[in-house]
C-alpha cells in the first residue's frame, strides 16, 4: 500500500509514487553535542554532504528520479537528457538553501517535482521553504514533503504550499489524510489561500 497522499483541487487521494528517490550513500555521522544534549537539527546552510557521497551516488538510468540537491548541482551534466524529458526532480533537506537550487536551475518550473526532506517533524523550517518556493520563486509543480511527515503537521504543510505528502512508513496515510481538513476557515492568508479571513468573508462591522 502506498503511503503517498496527493492533493489536487482540494481533493486528497492516496496514489502510487511514480518517482524513485535517489539517496546519498550513507556515511559515518559523528554525534554532536551542545550543552550536553545531542544535536538533533542541522544549522541552516551547514555543509552536510561530502564530495565522496556526491560522487558515489548511484543515478538510475531509467525512470523518473528525484536527486539530492548536491548531486543535481555537481553532476548536472549527467542529467541533461533526463532533465529534457522531464524525468528529474530535486530534493533538499530543511537545512539546505533554496538559493543554491535557484542559482543552479534556469527555470525552476522545468522541474516537475521538488521534494523537501524533514528529518524531524518538529523542524518548522519546512513551512518557510514551501512558502518561499511557491510565493517568491513561483514554483508551480509538485511540492512534496517526505521524511518524518505526520498527520498533525499536514494542515500546516498544505497551507505552506505542499501538495504531496509522503507519510512516514510506520503510519497510515489513510488515517493521516484527515489532518488536511483540521480547520475549515483559517484566519491568516497563506499559500493555499492568500486572503485572510478579514477579506475573504464579510465579517460585518
Amino acid at each position: 500500500m502506498s503511503n503517498l497522499i496527493a492533493l489536487q483541487n482540494d481533493t486528497a487521494n492516496i496514489v502510487q509514487d511514480e518517482w524513485t528517490l535517489v539517496n546519498l550513500p550513507a556515511t559515518q555521522v559523528e554525534v554532536r553535542k551542545q550543552a550536553g544534549k545531542v544535536v538533533l537539527f542541522k544549522l541552516t546552510g551547514e555543509a552536510s554532504v561530502a564530495e565522496e557521497q556526491v560522487k558515489n551516488t548511484i543515478i538510475p538510468e531509467t525512470g523518473k528520479i528525484i536527486v539530492p540537491l548536491r548531486v543535481f548541482i555537481a553532476r548536472n551534466q549527467e542529467l541533461t537528457q533526463k532533465l529534457a524529458k522531464g524525468e528529474v526532480g530535486v530534493w533538499l533537506a530543511t537545512h539546505e538553501l533554496i538559493e543554491d537550487l535557484i542559482a543552479n536551475v534556469e527555470d525552476i518550473n522545468t522541474l516537475p517535482i521538488i521534494a523537501i526532506f524533514v528529518e524531524r517533524f518538529a523542524d518548522g523550517r519546512i513551512f518557510s521553504l514551501g512558502t518561499l518556493l511557491r510565493t517568491r520563486h513561483h514554483f508551480k509543480n509538485e511540492l512534496r514533503a517526505f521524511g518524518d511527515v505526520l498527520r498533525d503537521q499536514l494542515f500546516f504543510l498544505k497551507r505552506s504550499g505542499f501538495n504531496s505528502f509522503f507519510i512516514r512508513q510506520d503510519r497510515s496515510a489513510q488515517e493521516a489524510i484527515a489532518g488536511l481538513k483540521d480547520f475549515s476557515a483559517p484566519y491568516q492568508g497563506a499559500v493555499d489561500e492568500p486572503r485572510p479571513a478579514f477579506t475573504r468573508y464579510n465579517r460585518g462591522i
Binding site: A122, G124, F183, Q188
Partner: protein, 560 residues
Amino acid sequence: MYKYDEIDQQIVDERVAQYRDQVRRYLAGELSEDEFRPLRLQNGLYIQRHAPMLRIAVPYGMLSSKQLRKLGDIAKKYDKGYGHFSTRQNLQLNWPKLEDTPDILAELATVQMHAIQTSGNCIRNITTDQFVGIAPDEIIDPRAIAEIMRQWSTFHPEFALLPRKFKIAVSGTAEDRAIIQAHDIGMEFYLDHNQQIAVKVWVGGGLGRTPILGTVIREHLEWQHALTYCEAIVRVYNLHGRRDNAYKARIKILVKALGIDAFRQQVEAEWLNLKDNANTITEAELARVAQHFEPMPYETLSEHDARFDAAIASNTAFASWVKRNVHAHKQPGYRAVTLSLKPHGKPPGDITSEQMWLVADLADQYSFGELRSSHEQNLILADVKLGDLYSVWEKARANGLATANIGLLSDIICCPGGDFCSLANAKSIPIAEAIQMQFDNLDYLHDIGDLELNISGCMNACGHHHVGHIGILGVDKDGSEWYQVTIGGKQGNDASIGSVIGPAFSAEEMPGVVQKLIDVYIEARTEEERFIDTVRRIGVAPFKQHVYADKNLAKEGAAA
C-alpha cells in the same frame, strides 16, 4: 471586549475536536510521547510534578465576568477549586487530569476561550498593559491591533514549529507597562507627526538564561503593515534561528550573533516581498475590531465625590488601599481598581473558585462586566465609579482580595516554581510567602514604598527576576536549592537588568537577606527616593557589603 463571530467560534470548536482526537490517539498509543509533546504544549498542557498543568489563554489580559465565572466553575469541577494567574496574564490550572482536558477545552469554547499556543515553540499569547484603554497617559489603545495579531498568529502555518517560543507585547502609553523591551517582538504604538498611528518595533528582547533588552529594528512602521512586518521578522528567525541548541534558540541570540544591522537588513529584504500583500491590515478590519473596544458608556461624573472623600478621611485602612490599589482613569469620576492576589502568606497569583465568582459579580455590578489580569498577577476592575470604591473595597476585603500592597514589596511576582514546575531548580512560592511574613506590617511596607520583587524557580525566568528591583533566582548547587539575588533590575522605558550581588543563599536565609537590602535602602535613601533609585545612585556595593558582612566574618572566624 472582543466578541467572537462564527469564524472565531468555528476555529475554537474545531480546535477542541482536533485536540480531543490527539489525546485519544496518544492514550491509544498511536502517538508517541515525543510526537504528542508539541501538540499538547501548543494547547497549553504541561506534564508537571504532580499532575498536568493547563494554561488557559487570556488574550492581552481581557476577561468578561462570564468567562471568569466559567473559569471558577472549571477549577471547581476539574481541579482543586483554585487557579493561578501567571506573569503572561494567563490562568493556570495545576491539577487537571489529562483525560479531562478535552472536556475542559470544550467548556472554555462555550465562553469564547481556549488554550491555543499558550506554550510550545510558537507565537504565544500577546500581552499588554493592564490599564489599556483607560490609562490617562495612553496615546493609542492597541487592543484592536492586538486582537488582529492574535488572529493572525493563531495556527499561522508557516510559524507552527519555530526554533523556540516567541512572545509579542504591545503598548500604546507614554510609560511602558508591558515590558515590551523584554519580548521577542515589542510593538510600541504612537502617533507620528502626521497624527497617524505608527509602530516602533523592538526585537530580540527576552529574559531567561541570557537576559537581553530588545533593540529597535524599525522606528516607524505604519500600522497597516504590523502583520507583514512581523511575518518578515519571524520568517528570518524560523529559517536561521539556532535549532541545534535549545538554550541558544531564541531570536535574541540570532539578533546578537548577526548584529542588529545585518538582522535588520535581512528582515527588510524579506519585508519588501511581503509588504502590501493580502495580510496588510485594512481600514475596514481595524474599524470592525476596534468597535469591540470602544469606551464604556460612562456617566458624566464630577472628579470629586463627597462620600468617597468622607470615607478616605475617616477610614485609614480604606485610605491606604486607595493609595496603593486604586489607579487614575481617563474618564472623570472613574478609577481602576487592582484586586490583590497577593495576600501575605499565600501563593502569589492564586485565586479560589469562590473568589473568581465574587470578582465576576463585582465586575458585573461595578465595572461593566469586564476585568483584566496583569502580568504582576493581579486582577483589575477597570471602570469603577469613585462613589462605588468603598463598597468594592468592603466586598473585596471580606474575600481576601483587598491587601493594600500593590507595587509594594509584598506584591511579589512569582512563578509556580518547584512546587509545581518540573523544570524548577528550587521552590519559589515558599520563598515569597516567607518574605511576605517577614514584612507583614502594612505601615512598614508603605514606608518602604514602591518596590518590585520577582522570583523565578529557574533560569527560564517566568517570574521575570531580571527586571525586579530585587530579583531572586532558584539555582541548583549539588542537588540542593539555593537562591541568587540581583538588585537594580527595572521594567519600563528605562528598563535595566539587575546585577547579581554575590554567592547564593539558602531558603532560610532569604527573608533576612531581603531585610538587609531594605535596611541599607532605608539608611541611604533621600526623601522621595524609591528603592530602585537608591540602588542606581549608590550602586550595588553597599548592599553587598551589608548582606555579606556576617558571612564574611564567619568565614574569617573559621579561617582563624
